[in-house]
């Protein structure tokens, strides 16, 4: 075995070793996750047959609705259940008796209400049986029917919210692509880790949110550094082709995703936040969303300043433009790439925090957003940070505004169709340079 091979093998070994150690450290710290939560297809699997359960499925015209909160009270019990991706919710109670189950109307999607608005509270009778099922059929919101203009304003607001969030995550992809040429399919998992760690530190350990943000971003940056040092740098040294690296990143994303599934279980994690609502004209929003948008804006501005005003930022752009030329002017390309990975990891973790606080998260969250991120980056022009921001905003608006015209379950498809159309007519993206399309 020659030295290079040995080095490479050692690099990989260190990489996987670090990962395993990380997860091994997490596992005992979180004894409750693996034990109490089972993957989504069988929500009842982890309950014994003697458990007292109240459960149901929230659907709107046969489509499952996720994230609907139900408040369960009675017999000294007070708890909240949230419907998962498949619309199912379940909660375990300790005593036999009758419980009140109330749908928290604020947690319903916009424009959706109960078919029978008078029946937002139903009773679950567990005095003789162990399992009670309750259904709350949803339909068009009859409480208020908003005029189109107001709906438009509301959608633009949510589009801006989603777009800014995507932008924070997409800049990482864009910087990594620009400096190394790697199309990183494992980027979504960096976001998932950010969101799930927020759940660990914020919801489970009750740390203050600012400290949580610092810890999670530091861990995200560390994850980026470990990934680069243990996996991507050895591969670059080996001169593995970019397309090969892309497939490696797909493999890595599968591994990371299922490791997260095994550690955290399949259920959507409810991350508590400030759900206090704020009324801005016709827009009904939450403290969470407003703060999240502010944080995104500040972050984006900071990145723009970093890239245009600082030495390292300028060097990053130089490496993106032409790595060989940058190296010949004395820029340490490997160092820049290392910095980019750490920054990308931290930024993506931040996006995960913001996403988790607003929309909840599970083990697949990042992968579900990944294609939107690719669409954003491609739309703006691969490898330009400003382009990624513009692309992300466009995608955010398309996703949210499309709901006004097409069924809501097609909103992600709409943004992907936009991606294909842009590639058809302007393959270099909105702000990209022509030579980048190759």
């Amino acid at each position: 075995m020659d030295i290079r091979l040995a080095n490479r093998a050692r690099g990989l070994a260190i990489f996987f070793g670090t990962l395993v150690t990380l997860f091994a450290m997490l596992l005992p710290a979180l004894p409750s996750f693996a034990a109490s939560e089972s993957p989504s297809p069988a929500p009842s699997a982890s309950y014994s047959k003697d458990s007292l359960l109240i459960r149901g499925t929230i659907t709107n015209e046969k489509v499952p609705v996720a994230g609907v909160k139900l408040h369960i009270t009675g017999n000294g019990f007070d708890g909240i259940a949230t419907s998962g991706e498949d619309g199912k919710w379940i909660i375990e109670v300790q005593k036999k008796g009758v419980y009140d189950v109330e749908v928290m109307l604020d947690s319903l999607p916009k424009g959706v209400g109960l078919q029978d608005p008078t029946k937002n509270i139903r009773q679950a009778d567990l005095s003789v049986v162990n399992v009670a099922g309750l259904l709350f059929p949803l339909g068009k919101d009859t409480r208020v029917i908003q005029p189109f203009g107001e709906q438009l304003v509301i959608r633009i607001w949510s589009g801006l919210n989603l777009g800014l969030l995507l932008a924070v995550a997409a800049i990482g992809i864009s910087l990594i692509f620009g400096t190394t040429g790697l199309t990183n399919f494992a980027h979504g998992e960096m976001l998932t880790i950010g969101a799930l760690l927020t759940w660990v530190f914020y919801t489970n350990m009750n740390l203050p949110i600012l400290i949580v943000a610092v810890i999670v971003m530091a861990l995200g940056g560390a994850f980026g550094y470990v990934q680069d040092a243990g996996l991507w740098k050895p591969l670059r040294k080996k001169r593995i082709g970019l397309n090969q690296m892309m497939i490696v990143s797909i493999g890595f994303s599968i591994v990371a995703r299922y490791v997260l599934l095994i550690i955290f279980g399949g259920e959507t994690k409810v991350i508590s936040g400030e759900f206090q609502s704020i009324q801005l004209g016709p827009i009904n929003t939450t403290v969470n969303s407003v703060v999240s948008m502010g944080v995104s804006l500040v972050t984006l501005a900071a990145i723009a300043l970093f890239l245009t005003r600082t030495r390292i930022g300028k060097a990053t752009r130089a490496v993106s433009d032409n790595a060989a030329l940058a190296a010949s002017t004395g820029i340490d390309v490997e160092r820049i790439i290392r910095i980019v990975w750490v920054v990308a990891g931290a930024l993506t973790a931040l996006a995960g925090i913001l996403y988790g606080l607003q929309f909840q998260a599970n083990w697949m969250t990042g992968f579900q957003i990944l294609l939107l991120l690719f669409a954003a980056v491609t739309l703006g022009g691969l490898g330009t940070a400003l382009g990624a921001t513009v692309g992300a905003l466009i995608i955010g608006f398309v996703v949210e505004l499309s709901v006004l015209f097409i069924p809501a379950d097609l909103k992600y498809a709409a943004s992907l169709i936009i991606l294909v159309l842009v590639l058809l007519f302007r393959p270099q993206g909105v702000l990209g340079k022509k030579q980048r399309i190759g």
Partner: protein, 328 residues
């Protein structure tokens, strides 16, 4: 731990119709990627179109099964055209992103409530296979096989049909890749500009390869849905595509037998590790894993296999290193 049972299960998995589906999809992908160098990450959509096309032809239009099958292949061709025309002129990684996006778009459209009358929405479609099973000439009340390998006549029938199709497709690919047409495809993979300078229309050849490989995947999709007797959108997620990449790269992308051997080896190993892990849990060695978690380890193995193969042996078991240039 019963090694005999674990081994039997692994061997049974080797010849199952599900394996046939993966083999056919991998043969299609070998035409795309192995011979032409196209990074197609939407193979799941081609397979799904095969399954849905046939089911919709039978249920919605009331056509006989063979017309429905032809309709499905026609849809698959149209899909390849829609996919290929905007993207085949672009760089390879754009094709990767667009194909994966297109397969997700297709899945969203099959899931949406808007078309549920035709597609069945998230529940999918079922009860379209009646005519297929009537074609079965084998008598029903006999058990086929020996020992633990006994099957009903229906199971034998679909496995026979499947493996005969695999044989036909493999021979077809072998013949085509020896033909002048196949040599042009390999030329495109090695050096697109050189082929262009010889006066060949590279774009048209790539499009033909995309259609051709997609059709194999669609046939695989039909076997899949006939075997399960239902077709559901969630079967055709990106994981399906990534599995096919893994088995293809394992066997050797630019070989005729690579997709077949890759799939067989991969499913054998998967089933074996699964059985052994389950057995270890039963005797109390792995108490911290639950049963579903043991099932999830399968996917970690798939991801690891994909990474390690691409890094250390991109040519696969059979491949010739010079035959596989990743950078088109």
């Amino acid at each position: 731990m019963d090694f005999g049972a674990i081994l039997t299960l692994a061997v049974k998995e080797l010849i199952s119709p599900i394996t046939v589906t993966y083999v056919l999809c991998a043969i299609g992908l070998s035409v795309h990627f192995g011979y032409t160098g196209l990074l197609n990450f939407g193979q799941a959509a081609f397979a799904a179109i095969g399954g849905y096309g046939m089911a919709i032809g039978i249920l919605t239009f009331g056509w006989p099964i063979w017309i429905s099958a032809i309709f499905a292949l026609f849809c698959s061709t149209i899909f390849a055209l829609i996919l290929g025309i905007p993207t085949l002129r672009l760089r390879a990684d754009y094709l990767a992103i667009v194909t994966i996006a297109a397969s997700e778009i297709f899945r969203y459209f099959m899931t949406t409530i808007g078309f549920a009358k035709v597609t069945g929405g998230s529940n999918g479609l079922s009860q379209f296979g009646g005519e297929f099973w009537k074609l079965n000439p084998l008598p029903a009340d006999v058990e086929y096989g020996f020992g633990p390998f006994t099957y009903r006549n229906d199971q034998i029938f679909i496995m026979l049909v499947g493996w005969v199709l695999v044989a036909i497709c493999a021979v077809l690919v072998w013949l085509l890749m020896r033909s002048p047409w196949g040599r042009v495809l390999r030329g495109i993979r090695e050096d697109e500009d050189a082929v262009r300078s010889l006066g060949k229309n590279v774009f048209v050849y790539k499009l033909q390869a995309l259609i051709f490989g997609g059709i194999f995947a669609s046939i695989g999709g039909m076997i899949f849905v006939l075997n399960l007797s239902n077709v559901q959108p969630q079967s055709w997620g990106t994981t399906f595509t990534f599995m096919i990449w893994t088995v293809l790269l394992l066997g050797g992308a630019a070989t005729v037998l690579g997709p077949v051997v890759g799939t067989l080896v991969f499913f054998f190993i998967l089933s074996l590790t699964q059985g052994i892990l389950g057995g270890l849990k039963d005797i109390g060695v792995l108490p911290f894993l639950s049963d579903p978690q043991i099932g999830q380890i399968r996917f970690i193995l798939i991801g690891l296999a994909l990474m390690l193969l691409v890094i250390f042996r991109p040519q696969g078991i059979f491949g010739n290193k010079r035959e596989l240039q990743f950078n088109a």
